[in-house]
Symmetry: C2
């Protein structure tokens, strides 16, 4: 009888890998969140207002959690990793504030983007403020190599973003170029987020490189999935509109995959649609139908899974244990998160 | 006979203090310029294109020259000061790129501003790139205190800029608020430019503080004069349009001075004109006539001269000599430069 099913004891929902990672490092994350709130303060009220709109409210704190988990994997016993995790989140937040200006995105994580609420000028300046505060936090760790790694990552991120700008509506953007762009703009920070924990824990070079590799491969997968979701995600889950990349004229992997297999007629569509100053909903529908026809989303996800396998393999240099398993499981979660 | 004057031997033009400072540190400045060009390179061509538009072409290199001269005054014998001077110029350049977006200024140093040529997006990102490269340069000096000082300065600069945004068309902005804003947005970098040389030279604390004080007071005077020039400068000399601050709705010291002495009718004009979304040339003419009537430019310059006196007095802790004289003379030059 159908009705009885309502009376059955409710099953406790199984925690996903993200929930388990958060739970395992809940105390550390609370320290990091407290630091984030403390260090975004300023007597200039607009700064904490705008920063908290972005930093407090949203986001999964995936990057700082990677820093915390990597520190644990490295056997680190100090407290510099809280500052490093807050640093990583500040750099991430600063780049988000600036990206929203660059992209002209009206929304961020399902809420109006800061530049929509306050305008471009405060978003530029508060991004600069968070970036500067990130460096002050790093100084407090007393480790020049940490500053070296994250200053280097920050210039690589900016290079990646500029390169992406130059690639907009450029049909010579091939897969290699696309992969280099996402390695710079996304994977570099994931790599650094993991690597800096190895530095403060004074791990041998091979393990430091392994944590960099782990973060880098995870970051590549993360961005590939993000780009796939732009053509396949459910808006409510993702908090961003489907087709954002398409509307902004960005040629991402699902499009590149579909273009490779396109007929002459289809190729003409892609050229024409990306040369237009703006793209309509009808354009998006047609683009999505071509991507589906040629399996562009699936091929992008397959590629993400390759990087996930690399990320997991990089962890093998560490002893098995709970944290290694969590870091491994988060890889699968990143690929499966919204499909 | 008037004609004979043409036949008189041409007098060698007397070098001003800026020329003399440049000449005294020409070798060091060549090292700094080479570093600047080297470190703004990137395989992403738009970055050096845009950065060189700003960094190579223009500017007097006043801030890096202060760093070089301060290092000499401190008896420093190493070569970290070249990197510090390049760092200071990179941070200055990054803030200029971002300020032009914030202000919507079409011109910078008599040329189209970078955001006018390339758009806002590359200006945001190249600013970030230069800022990140500045931190990488500092790491190479191996001195955490240098990073601490310049990271702190960078967040104070951003705070000052945000505070200035909030003060636009705010008639409660009093002189103290104005002075705090210019100390943050301008004087802090001058102070740090001088102070970091004391740090690498391992000067005793009192001398480090004296160099900070020197730069800070010079920076305050520099900005006061800049704001006076906005209502009094000759466009050709300054490379920026007269009345820029007025058009952007910024209430600077010459206006604040004129407002203090204004009749009821004049006060109404100020309120009305700054509440308008835009200001006409006729508005500017009337504003300038009121500033002239109440001696607003003169009062601003008098205040600048007070800070110049403080800057010179801060140098007294150092032994007399050529470099101390140059640093002292540059103070007078800053106030007299375009009047």
């Amino acid at each position: 009888m159908a009705l009885t099913s309502f009376a059955e004891p409710e099953q406790k929902p199984k925690l996903n890998a993200m929930d388990r990672l958060e739970a395992a490092f809940a105390d550390g994350l609370a320290e990091v969140n407290a630091l984030i709130i403390e260090r975004m303060q300023s007597p200039v009220g607009m700064i904490p207002d705008l920063a908290s709109h972005l930093v407090r409210a949203g986001g999964k704190r995936l990057r700082p959690l990677i820093t915390l988990a990597a520190a644990d994997l490295a056997g680190y016993k100090g407290d510099a990793h809280y500052k490093l995790a807050a640093t990583v989140e500040f750099i991430h937040s600063a780049t988000l504030l600036h990206d929203d200006i660059v992209d002209g995105s009206p929304m961020r994580r399902g809420k109006p983007a800061a530049n929509t609420v306050w305008g471009n000028a405060p978003s530029v300046l508060v991004g600069d403020f968070l970036f500067a505060r990130a460096f002050s936090l790093m100084v407090e760790t007393g480790r020049l190599r940490v500053l070296d790694i994250l200053a280097g990552a920050s210039s690589i991120i900016a290079e990646g973003e500029v390169r992406q700008l130059a690639a907009i509506a450029n049909f010579d953007t091939d897969e290699q170029e696309y992969m280099e762009i996402i390695e710079a703009k996304t994977a570099e920070l994931f790599a650094s987020a993991a690597r800096v924990s190895a530095v403060v824990a004074d791990l041998p070079h091979a393990k430091e490189v392994a944590l960099d590799r782990y973060g880098r491969e995870l970051g590549l997968a993360f961005q590939l999935v993000d780009d796939a979701l732009d053509y396949a995600g459910a808006q409510s889950k993702l908090g961003k509109a489907v087709g954002d990349d398409f509307r902004e004229g960005k040629i991402t992997m699902p499009v590149a995959k579909a273009m490779q297999k396109s007929s002459t007629e289809e190729h003409d569509f892609w050229i024409k649609v990306f040369r237009k100053p703006t793209r309509t909903n009808a354009d998006l529908q047609h683009a999505m139908s071509l991507i589906t026809k040629h399996g562009g989303v699936q091929a992008t996800l397959d590629q993400a899974r390759t990087h996930i396998a690399n990320a997991k393999s990089a962890l093998q240099i560490f002893q098995p244990g709970k944290t290694r398993t969590l870091l491994s499981d988060i890889c699968d979660f990143v690929v499966e998160r919204s499909f």
